[in-house]
């Protein structure tokens, strides 16, 4: 079977969950090969092996790590040209999609973003995408070059499959033209919560939350569920919650196992960012709110009384 290159992200000496999901998908369509920027530590190597990486290609090059997008594109392009590669898989984050776009130009290959599933059919890699804010499901494939595919976090559950990866250190020649370079980097603090795009549970608040300080309630519910906090555009525009948490067409797209919408009416702007969540619970005072069209469970009521009760119930059941 041909190799499938998987771009690996790691933080604090742990491989991030979306990367483990990509390795799991890669096994379906070929032999997973992990591509890592920086020298992988022993624990990173063990983790990649546990999730089926057959080989690890890494470049320990400070210049590469500090280059905006171009460096990692060079690493992936050199790996793709020196092997028989069936596909390249990357996370569907803003920065992952940028890498995919540049790589597709460099390889003159088809790029498919925001895949929610990747399968192999008659020797071809086929992706499933959810477009127009999740209202339409599309199957698509690349017709030229090595398919460059970005996959949404939470599209699959990571599954272990032990392998003993070979480790290949490579150097990448600087053929990408001039780079922008990173002079400092600080991790975005989510207050100890999981990242919005990769969280299994997202609790989001909207206009109905009513005030910035009332978002503490949304955060408390997120915390008892070990989830991330999202917000509707109405809430971020009002300055109640940081813009980075905005879920919707002009914000972040999430596809968690559970999405709890609190005081969100469900304008199309918002629905476009969350309607592929597996289970949706909505709490809203207005029985006519469009969010209820999407909800598996909808509660017509005041979130300021329902949410505290829900938090207490979850705590009681966990105790």
């Amino acid at each position: 079977m041909a190799d499938v290159l998987v771009l690996i992200d790691h933080a604090d000496d742990v491989v991030v969950k979306p990367s483990l999901e990509l390795l799991t998908l890669a096994r379906r369509i070929g032999t997973p090969v992990a591509v890592v920027v920086g020298a992988p530590s022993t624990s990173i190597v063990e983790e990649l092996g546990a999730y089926g990486a057959n080989a690890i290609i890494s470049a320990d090059d400070e210049r590469l790590a500090s280059s905006v997008t171009a460096g990692v594109v060079g690493l992936l392009a050199s790996a793709a040209s020196s092997r028989d590669v069936a596909a390249v898989l990357l996370p569907s984050t803003a920065e992952g999609k940028e890498v995919a776009g540049r790589l597709a130009v460099r390889l003159d290959a088809g790029v498919l973003t925001d895949a929610v599933d990747v399968t192999s059919s008659e020797g071809e890699v086929v992706v499933e995408q959810s477009i127009f804010g999740g209202s339409t499901v599309v199957h698509a494939k690349a017709t030229r070059g090595v398919p460059v595919i970005t996959v949404r976090p939470n599209s699959v559950s990571p599954e272990e499959s032990a392998a003993s990866p070979s480790i290949e250190q490579v150097t990448v020649s600087d053929d990408a033209g001039r780079h922008a370079s990173v002079t400092s980097r600080s991790a975005v603090s989510a207050g100890g919560r999981p990242g919005l795009t990769e969280a299994s549970v997202v609790v989001a608040g909207g206009r109905g939350v009513g005030a910035a300080d009332k978002f503490a309630l949304i955060e408390e519910l997120a915390d008892v569920l070990s989830g991330a906090v999202g917000a509707s555009r109405a809430a971020t525009d009002a300055g109640w919650y940081p813009h980075a948490a905005q879920v919707g067409q002009t914000g972040v797209t999430v596809a968690p196992q559970l999405y709890i919408a609190c005081g969100i009416s469900g304008a199309i702007q918002h629905r476009a960012g969350m309607q592929t969540a597996k289970t949706i619970v909505a709490i809203n005072k207005d029985a006519e709110a469009p969010i209820f069209e999407l909800a598996d469970l909808g509660v017509v009521g005041d979130l300021h009384t329902v949410v505290p009760q829900l938090i207490a119930e979850i705590r009681a059941r966990k105790a």
């Binding site: 940028e98 130009v105 088809g110 698509a140 070059g145 505290p308 979850i314």
Partner: protein, 260 residues
């Protein structure tokens, strides 16, 4: 400093909610053809850079059918100096690779020190175009910017990715993409709207850019859609009214789905 801003005409993101002020019915005409909201931040940022750097000019560039001229006029009415419109029947159905080829050639044709884009389009939402243009132009990519400063020919950008905030530096020429909330786009003034009518607009064809029509359009796309279906409706919905126990009932529901 010559700044080129790429803009796209898209269906209105808020179209489902929009009423016609004349009769309060759904305004269908408004659903097609507006400047991409995310691109208005790019236009605004370019205008601010122009205003703080003497001798600068802003060119807005769009690829799209004849109707996209409206989108260019909107950007001109905000204050851009001139517009360039790439129109060609052969472009219909172009994928991101072909679009980036056409835009890159047009940008080179126009000449530039800085290219500014929105972070993604609100219709296709691929978020690849700025990176593709940097690759094709062979210039630094300073994208996902929450802040842009230019001093002499040095560019400093605060970049927000999903995981980190980064300070990045590059030399001009370069490609920048800006995030929503980097600024508050201005509304065109009456004066701006009137002035837009007399600003120069150049129309370019593929031949003008030296691009072979067979390398763009639907038939040259490097990806193909095999099938599309409307998303099946979600499973059974349960809507309850809170009678004082809704919190407990949500907890029961979550437990039944093994979510708590």
């Amino acid at each position: 400093m010559k700044i080129v801003v790429c803009v796209k005409q898209v269906p209105d993101t808020w179209s489902e909610k929009r009423l016609d002020p004349a009769d309060q019915t759904l305004d269908r005409a408004a659903a097609d053809g507006v400047i991409d909201e995310l691109d208005t931040y790019a236009v605004e940022e370019a205008l601010r850079l122009k205003e703080s750097h003497e001798g600068s000019s802003v060119v807005v560039l769009a690829m799209g059918p004849a109707a996209a001229a409206e989108t260019l006029r909107k950007a001109l009415s905000m204050g851009a100096d001139e517009a360039v419109h790439v129109v060609d029947d052969a472009l219909h159905g172009s994928d991101a690779l072909a679009t980036s080829l056409v835009l890159a050639r047009a940008i080179e044709h126009v000449g530039y020190d800085l290219v500014v884009l929105g972070s993604e389009s609100t219709d296709a939402r691929m978020g690849v175009m700025a990176a593709m243009l940097a690759e094709r132009l062979g210039v630094p990519q300073a994208t996902l910017a929450n802040r842009v400063d230019v001093a002499d020919s040095a560019l400093r950008v605060t970049r927000l990715t999903s995981a980190a905030q980064e300070e990045i530096e590059a030399d001009l020429p370069a490609v920048v993409s800006v995030l929503e909330k980097i600024n508050e786009p201005r509304y065109p003034s009456f004066k701006g709207i009137m002035a837009a009518k007399s600003k120069p607009t150049t129309t370019l064809s593929l031949a003008d850019l030296g691009i072979e029509p067979s390398t763009v359009g639907l038939s040259a796309a490097a990806t193909t859609v095999l099938d599309s279906t409307a998303r099946p409706p979600r499973g059974e919905r349960t809507i309850i009214k809170d009678d004082g126990d809704a919190g407990a009932r949500i907890a029961d529901f979550l437990a039944s789905r093994k979510l708590v």
